[in-house]
Each structure stands twice: as C-alpha cells, then as structure tokens.
C-alpha cells in the first residue's frame, strides 16, 4: 500500500539499522524464552524446509503439508497457506460440526479450542495451528457418552435450529475450563462472542448454570 512515510529512511540509516538489528536479534533470542513464539517458530520449521542460507522458512503459496493435532489424533493435510483452519476442518477432515456462518469473526459458529483457547477458526489460518492441540465439537464426547455440557444443553432445550450450537458448546467448554462456577454475568460475557439467531440464549445460560452445578434462572429472568 503506498503509505506516506514521514521517516522513509535513507539508505545509510538502513545499513546501520541492519547492524543494530543483527545485534539486538542475538540478545533478543537469548532473552526470549518464549513459549508462544518458540512454538510458532517450531511450527514454521516443522512445516517448511529452510534453505541453508539462513533465510526464514517460507510456506507456499502452493499447497504445503500441514500436520494438526485434532481431537487427540495427528492428521496431515495438504493445503495452501491461504486456507483457514475452518476450511481444513470442514473440507479436508470432514469435521463439519464447526459451522461457517458469517466467516468474519462476528458470530461464533466456527468456535474451536486451539491449545485450550477459544478462537474463531474462520479467522485463523490453518498454518497458524500447526502443532497446536485443536478441539472441535466432535472431540467432546467419549464414544457414545456425551460431555456433561452437551447433556446440559439437551436437558435445557438450549437450541432451536441448532446451527449455532456447536459454537456455543465450545464457548461454554472454554468458559467452564477457566471459571468452573461462573455467575450469570460471567456466562453472558464468556458467551458474548457467539450469536444465536433463534434466540435460545436464556436456555443456553441455564444449560451452563446447570452444568456448573448452579440453579437455572426462571424463564425471562435475567436473560
């Protein structure tokens, strides 16, 4: 993008800077014990073969091997870097529980857990999830035994058309993971990144209250 740069630096400046950069990089890499950055770098290396010139690994633009840990299993797919995690889950792995509704990070239908954190899989590149532990709605039940939060959704009739439900169940799972006894306000905040067009919210809140051992609210109250 042709931005204006008040400081568009002269070349000398850039050379000095490259030298400073090299130094600070060394210091930087010493100080950075960096959980997430190291994990990301490992992912990059795992996924791409760097050449021996010290140049950073570059993935794509053609299809690359992407290894993911999904619901406890390691799976390998080949996809271009311009592929979202949701596309890989649905199209490559057939895990169609996660839904694409808005595709823009605004509805929560595609919510999954990546390393335990709730994210919108429609707004994350699949290559950003390489080596991460991903849990989708398909990964909650153990065989035929549903997860307690799923049972609670059924008990409280917390759905109508059901399209938003996988996302709400994943958001509820993340919430209860961080906060085993959330208040009603905390439930509303925790589920605020998910929308239900059918308006099942009060029953969803009840399902989460119940799943965390708390009394459900009465119809119309607090919702």
């Amino acid at each position: 993008m042709p931005d204006e740069h008040p400081d568009s630096s002269c070349d000398d400046q850039k050379r000095t800077d490259a030298a400073v950069g090299a130094l600070s990089r060394r210091r930087f890499m010493q100080t950075v014990g960096l959980s997430s950055a190291a994990a990301l770098a490992d992912r990059a290396r795992a996924a791409a073969v760097a050449d021996d010139t010290g140049a950073p690994p570059i993935l794509g633009p053609g299809a690359v091997d992407i290894a993911l840990h999904v619901n406890g299993a390691t799976v390998k797919v080949k996809a271009e870097p311009a592929t979202t995690l949701l596309e890989v889950l649905r199209m490559h792995l057939g895990l169609t529980g996660s839904k694409e509704i808005c595709g823009r990070g605004a509805c929560g239908g595609c919510s999954v857990l990546v390393d335990g954190k709730l994210v919108y899989s429609c707004m994350m590149l699949a290559v950003d999830a390489i080596s991460a532990k991903i849990t989708t709605i398909e990964g909650l039940a153990e065989g035929d035994a549903l997860d307690p939060i799923q049972e609670s959704f059924i008990r409280h009739d917390a759905l109508q058309c059901g399209y938003c439900t996988p996302g709400f169940v994943m958001a509820s799972t993340a919430l209860l993971g961080e906060n085993p006894r959330p208040s009603l306000d905390e439930i509303k905040a925790g589920l605020s990144g998910n929308s239900c067009r059918c308006g099942s919210h009060s029953n969803i809140f009840n399902a989460v209250l119940d799943a965390s051992g708390q009394a459900p609210i009465h119809d119309g109250e607090g919702a």
Partner: protein, 332 residues
Amino acid sequence: MNRFAVAQVESPDQAVELMESKRFVSPVYKAGGLDLLDHLKEGLIEPGLLVDIRTLAGCADPIHQAEDGTLRISANATLADIARSPLMHEHAPVIAQAAHSAASPQIRNVATIAGNLLQRPRCWYYRQQQFDCLKKGGHQCFAPDGENKYHAVFGGGPCHMIHPSSLAPALSVCNAHIHVTGSGRESIPITELFHAPDQGLRSEHNLSPVEIITHITFDPVPHSAFCAVHEKQAFDWPLAMAAAALVIESGTIRSARICAGAVAPIPWPLPKVEDALRDLRIDDDGELDKACSLAADRGEPLSQNAYKLKLLPVAIRRAVQRAIARNAEAPQ
C-alpha cells in the same frame, strides 16, 4: 482470499529483507491476522506474502514492570493477556479495562496489541470492495451523504472514519511510547503514531511499511479508567469511548489526561476537559459534570450521528468517576 505465502521470521533483518525483496507482491506483516483476514476475505488487499512477526516480537513475559516502575507490553501480547494481567489492573486499570471491553473472548485470545493499534478503519464503505472511496484512492467520501450513523463527529474530514482501536485512547492517556525497529528510529510517542486524514489518506499511522512495533512502555497510572458505550450489551463496536487518567492529591484532581475514541479519525484528546478538571474536588459532582460536558465542544456531526455528542460527555464522566472511585479504594 488470493493465494499467498507465509513466512515466520526470527529477526527484524529477516522481516525487513522480505518486505523489501521483489520476490513477492506487496508483502505485509501479520500478527494475530484478524484484521488482515478481514481484508483478504473482502479482497481489499492482495499480498503475495504474509510475514508473521509474532516469532520475533514475542517474549516469555509479554507484560512486565521494570525496576524503575515502567510498564512494558510486548507487541504480540494479546488483548486477553492484557485484560487478565494483574499488573495492568493494579498499575494501569485503563489499559486492562480497554482490552477487556474490546470485541469477544475469541478475538481477544488472538488479537495482539500492535495489530489492534494498526487495524484499519471499520467504515462500511471502506470495508466493502465495491465502494472506491477516498481512502482507497477514489474521488469521494461516501459518508457525508450516506449512512453515517457510526462515523466521526470531530476532525472535519475529508475522510470521516473513526479510529476503531480501543487501546489507542487508553495508551494515549498513559503517554505511552511505541518502540519500533526496522527503520533506524527506536520509539515514538503514541501522540505521534497517528495522523489526521488531511495529512494522508492511505494510511492512518506514521510507521513506514517495514517498521515493526516491538513493545510499548508507559509509567503507571493507577487512577485511570476506561468507559465504552455500546449499542448492544456486548460484542459491539463502541459508539463512544473514553479514557481518563487522573493525578489526585488530598481529594483534588491535580491533573487529568482525557482521550476519546470512536468519535474521530484519530484518538481524540480533550485538552479543554483536562483543563477544566484541574483543581476540582473529587466529590464536586456539579463541577465535574460541567467539565466533562465540554467534551462535545466544537463537534461537527454528520446527518445521522449528532447523538454521539450526547453520549461522549457521559462516557467521559463515567470514566472520570471510575478513576476517582479507584482512587478512593486504592491503598497508597
């Protein structure tokens, strides 16, 4: 989305080299990627390469306090990290509250503070490919004669976007410094990070395309608070935002830093309100109300957004009150 490659770099030199190499068409830096994916999906940008800089901007402790008290947030700290940080809650509640108020849990888990500051406008004409507006190199701004309920009430154009970042006004009242690498300069004050549309339309900030934010520093502002007014109760872009940082001594406001958000193309400082708040008693509600009402002064609403000039003084008043209440409860 167009096809692109992704690079994960480990040093600023690598990053700058890739940005400047001719191997890829219009490369861009990527952090959490939320704002970028929105642009890619709409076809607003078609970069040949995304340079992921989280691998170099990271540090083991994304938020910490130096021995001299200076607070430091690394560029790739997520809004969730910041919202949860006990350090921020104690020493800069305005930052913790701003981070907590933004977007949804899913976004806060991924969105980085640097990406938050540098996100592009949410103006719906800008975000839709078919509107070739001023900001995209076209010949007109569609807001004045169009749907402008969510546009700016200050600034006077020629682009009437609002700056969308919740963290920007909060960091402004902290007098934060933005530390950068890649160009030779080391840091710029947040007040110089953004420019008004009449100073350049194609970008909102003053960084060069190769400059990388590494971290942000500021002094503690324990008596500070943030307030955002939304149309919905949750997960909605704010209609007006207010950040306040006060210095209070013996029940009197000695100095105030006040900045508004979502009302102008840049975080909008309110020096008149700051002046009026100085030397007021913290329990003088009448005078505090009066001082905060100056926030609407010299507003220039468009056809559908004069309501923002009513909301803003309320948001400022609430932020000031929250900062005062904090003072009352915080042990010194």
